[in-house]
């Protein structure tokens, strides 16, 4: 094995200019809420960083996260950083297969004990679920995860499945899927949610880890605050239409054509915290709302079960209409019965009516 190159060397080899690199470092600084003057320091640190060992575990997932992170139309600093980490195990990307692949994982764990990062995409059947729902090389996901994180410095749960359980955990959750953070309790877990997540978020986390050896500040869901601190709604360029009450009601009405707010078409922007509205996708080309499509809320926990992608955020989940009708029918019947009882009581009272007469009144005087 050749001596590992520094990140700087690797970038230069790939023809990334100093200028482009500094631009990336400035973005990283801003994401970490550091002053822009820190960008050169970050650049310096990054240039000298050794390739950290990363073990990438793919469990119950669709490979969408890997696609998002690796496939860019042109090489960017982000995916180059991604390229230059020592991705010692990633069974979608690695050439090795079978025992050889597993062997690579064990080797990396052994060689970098205490220092390596574990990236997980996909949820996994929990310890009480049937492990047979997802295995790799005959090893259950649960077993593999617990074994792999043993010597890890930190765990990055990439994508909403790894972070929050995602689609596998959606109702009725047949495989008993759980999220990484449900199982990993003694290592830092960074959730990079999204379905898929914004690529820059993962590289940003990696950049910080490489630069400062620290992990980013997290929100209550364990997500890097720098990316998940603001809602889509608050940064949405269509927000003025919401504020004015101008809504598209179908995907092809005048409102939709005029770029009005997509709330009524099910946009979950108000409850969704992610960086799509600012960082956009595909090298900043566009993002779902800009493409005329409502935000699905994919970076939030349980977004699959949050009531339907095309139903407005305010629409209740389940069948309250049926509950209403059923209860109303029952109530009407019970009310009529109760009323009949009361009516009967009044009738009884009439039966027991004891006529008032002048004689007894006179006796009162």
């Amino acid at each position: 094995m050749a001596a590992p190159k520094t990140l700087g060397e690797s970038l230069r080899q790939h023809g990334v200019s100093r200028r482009g690199f500094l631009k990336f470092c400035a973005a990283t600084a801003s994401m970490m809420a550091l002053p822009p003057s820190m960008a050169p320091a970050i650049a310096k640190a990054l240039e000298q960083a050794r390739r950290p060992s990363v073990i990438w575990l793919s469990f119950q997932e669709c490979t969408g996260c890997t696609e998002s992170l690796t496939r860019s139309s042109s090489p960017t600093v982000e995916n180059l950083i991604f390229d230059v980490i020592s991705l010692d195990y990633h069974h979608t990307l690695q050439a090795a297969a079978g025992d050889a692949a597993e062997h690579a994982r064990e080797q990396a764990m052994h060689a970098n004990a205490g220092d390596y990062l574990v990236v997980v995409d996909g949820s996994l059947p929990g310890p009480n679920a049937n492990p047979g729902y997802s295995t790799i090389a005959g090893i259950s996901n649960y077993e593999m995860l617990m074994e792999t994180i043993e010597g890890a410095a930190a765990v990055v749960a990439v994508g909403s499945c790894a972070a929050f359980g995602g689609l596998p955990m959606a109702d009725p959750n047949p495989t008993g899927a759980v999220a990484v953070q449900d199982l990993v309790k003694d290592k830092p877990v960074i959730n990079v949610s999204g379905c898929p997540p914004v690529p820059m978020v993962l590289t940003g986390v990696l950049a910080q880890f490489l630069t400062f050896g620290t992990l980013p500040e997290l929100d209550q869901y364990g997500r890097p605050l720098a990316f998940f601190g603001q809602s889509i709604h608050d940064r949405c360029y269509r927000r003025p239409f919401y504020d004015k009450g101008l809504f598209a009601e179908t995907f092809d009405d005048e409102g939709a054509k005029a770029g009005w707010c997509l709330y009524r078409l099910g946009c979950k922007g108000p409850m969704t915290y992610n960086a799509c509205a600012t960082m956009k996708w595909n090298s900043g080309a566009s993002w779902p709302v800009e493409a005329g499509y409502p935000c699905l809320g994919c970076s939030e926990p349980n977004f699959w079960d949050a009531g339907g992608f095309y139903k407005a955020l305010s629409v209740p989940i389940g069948a309250p209409g049926k509950a209403l009708l059923g209860a109303a029918a029952l109530g009407a019947a019970a009310g009529v019965a109760a009323g009949a009882m009361s009516r009967h009581e009044s009738k009884q009272a009439t039966k027991y009516h004891d006529k008032v007469n002048a004689q007894e009144l006179e006796e009162k005087l």
């Binding site: 809602s231 009450g245 108000p270 629409v315 309250p320 509950a323 209860a327 019947a333 009323g339």
Partner: protein, 219 residues
């Protein structure tokens, strides 16, 4: 429980439970009132019952000039916040969507800034109404714990709605969840308190109008 779990709970099972309790309760109340019936009236009628009954249902929205003169505060503030509450409830676009999805019927809503202003007025109106209840001698004399309870139960959904809209509680799923929860409390409490007047007042007005109407007076 994460804010999202909380939101999904309030949007999901709790909402169904609340709306079921509401429907069950209010229909019991209405049915047990109507089933009681009225004794046959043997007196020759001077006027019709049905039309004056329906007219009174409408007329009691506008008080007579004397009442307005003697109790302008009640009339203005009472009308203001009642109308505001109903406008915010029925004409805010997210609420329209909710109703459409639950009942299958929808109508056009008002622009958000309008509802926002109306909500602010409603909040102020409700606060003013509470102060009035605490200070005006008749109101203070009549008021029971229940009156203050229903004030709170009415105030909270408006307040949380306002806070959620302005994103003054974070994260948003918590804000929205609190708003929905307070609305559910309102729905659940409604049939068991004098909030029933939301429905029974129409019955009461009808009977009032019918009783007077029979005697030839539009009440």
């Amino acid at each position: 429980m994460t804010p999202m779990d909380f939101l999904l709970l309030t949007k999901g099972p709790l909402f169904s439970v609340a709306i079921a309790i509401f429907a069950l309760g209010i229909l019991i109340r209405l049915a047990e009132i109507l089933t009681l019936g009225r004794a046959k009236n043997y007196a020759a009628a001077r006027g019709n019952e049905v039309i004056p009954g329906l007219k009174t249902v409408y007329r009691r929205f506008n008080p007579d000039p004397g009442t307005f003169k003697r109790s302008p505060f009640d009339v203005i503030v009472g009308t203001l916040w009642h109308v505001g509450f109903v406008v915010a409830l029925l004409l805010f676009i997210p609420h329209v969507e909710l109703i459409k999805s639950t009942l299958g019927i929808g109508w056009p809503g008002l622009p958000n800034p309008v509802v926002d202003a109306v909500t602010a007025i409603t909040l102020l109106g409700l606060i003013a109404a509470l102060i009035h209840r605490l200070t005006q001698p008749v109101k203070r004399f009549l008021s029971t714990k229940e009156d203050y309870l229903i004030w709170a139960v009415t105030f909270l959904p408006v307040l949380t709605g306002y806070l959620a809209y302005h994103r003054l509680i974070n994260p948003y799923p918590l804000a929205l969840g609190l708003h929905i929860l307070s609305a559910e409390v309102f729905l659940i409490v409604l049939p068991f308190t004098k909030l029933t007047h939301i429905f029974t007042a129409f019955v009461a007005r009808y009977y009032n109008g019918a009783i007077f109407g029979r005697k030839g007076i539009q009440s």
